[in-house]
């Protein structure tokens, strides 16, 4: 019987009932991002770049973060709103050999998680952050987020948003991330390639994926996918364009946190005081 090739990485059911389909709304971009991520991970495992049991998925709270709730046939943790990167830091310090992927959303990462966001990238901890940016708080009913565009009407900006949006890629890059890229759910192959590259690199990687929320935007998934394609432009053509640039913003390897700490351990090991 034909089965989707990535279902081998998901828990479809268990002793206490079925787990799929994903809880996401029809056409939500979050499921697509999971699909792209699993394709990237599958490719790495098949090429011998990592073992399946070395992968750990950590998420915060929100629609994007539901991916780890009980679906993954991997080690995972569905954690606290905004704190996925702090928890991921702990995972890394206990076992630097694990491949840590953080699933987060724009609110989770840049509002409540903002402090941990900038410090994780400043420290350049070995983690791949996949941020599904739909420009609002989906799970709780479509409230404004730090990534909501100016003048947008949301459930908490009923008169139009008077604030401007973060550029998350610039924030990650200026904080010190060693690999930063932005794609959208309408760019499946580019996204898979970027995720694969990020996981295989040492250091803190940030991948922003503009993602559709059809329910709160009140548009069909297909219309939103078409819009994501239309509103973006490759970085090399972005000069003078009002469209959102997509592509790789930086790829600047620098020493990773646990690698630097290793030198301290080597110097100190065995001392009593």
């Amino acid at each position: 019987m034909l089965k989707h090739p990535m279902l081998k990485y998901l828990k479809e059911s268990g002793p206490h009932g079925t787990r799929l389909p994903l809880i996401m709304c029809p056409g939500c971009g979050v499921g697509q991002v999971l699909n792209y991520t699993l394709h990237a991970v599958d490719s790495i495992i098949k090429e011998g770049g990592a073992n399946k049991e070395d992968f750990v998925f950590i998420s915060g709270v929100g629609c994007s973060s539901r991916l780890t709730s009980h679906y993954l046939n991997f080690d995972s943790g569905w954690t606290i709103h905004g704190r996925a990167l702090a928890i991921a830091t702990g995972v890394l310090l206990a076992n630097p050999d694990l491949n840590i992927v953080v699933f987060t959303g724009d609110g989770d990462a840049a509002a409540i998680g903002g402090n941990h966001f900038i410090h994780a990238f400043r420290r350049n901890i070995n983690v791949t952050v996949i941020c599904m940016n739909n420009g609002l708080y989906g799970m709780t009913g479509g409230q404004v987020a730090p990534t909501t565009l100016s003048q947008a009407v949301t459930s908490t900006t009923p008169y139009g948003n008077i604030e401007d949006a973060f550029d998350l890629c610039r924030l990650a890059q200026s904080s010190g991330a060693s690999y930063v890229a932005r794609w959208t759910t309408a760019h499946p192959h580019k996204t898979i390639k970027a995720i694969k590259k990020a996981i295989c690199k040492k250091g803190a990687a940030f991948i922003e994926i503009l993602s559709q929320c059809p329910v709160h935007k009140k548009q069909t998934p297909v219309d939103m996918i078409r819009a994501l394609k239309a509103m973006t432009v490759p970085i090399k053509n972005a000069e003078g364009s009002s469209k959102i640039p997509v592509g790789e913003f930086c790829d600047t390897p620098r020493p990773e946190w646990t690698q630097k700490y290793e030198a301290i351990i080597e110097k100190c090991a065995g001392r009593k005081s």
């Binding site: 019987m1 034909l2 089965k3 989707h4 090739p5 990535m6 279902l7 081998k8 998901l10 799929l20 389909p21 994903l22 996401m24 709304c25 029809p26 056409g27 939500c28 971009g29 979050v30 499921g31 697509q32 999971l34 699909n35 792209y36 394709h39 759910t185 499946p188 192959h189 898979i192 059809p214 069909t220 998934p221 297909v222 996918i225 078409r226």
Partner: protein, 72 residues
């Protein structure tokens, strides 16, 4: 002719696969599933070249395409 399987358990009728298929193999069906979704259906399997884009873009892992020489 390639087999294409669409799961009525997992598909939520978002129709992104219909939009994404470069060969226009899929179309919107005229019937509604037991869960109330308008599912996609295969309109012309002859045109399918097994590229697998529908599998990649599906948010619910609800479609599978037979691919020659590719292990699932």
């Amino acid at each position: 002719m390639r087999k294409i399987f669409i799961s009525t358990d997992y598909c939520k009728g978002c129709l992104i696969c219909v939009e994404s298929c470069p060969k226009k193999v899929l179309k919107i069906s005229s019937s509604i599933s037991a869960k109330g979704y308008t599912l996609p259906q295969v309109s012309d399997t002859e045109k399918c070249n097994g590229c697998g884009i529908c599998e990649i873009v599906c948010p619910d892992f609800a479609i599978a395409v037979e691919k020659e020489d590719k292990a699932v």
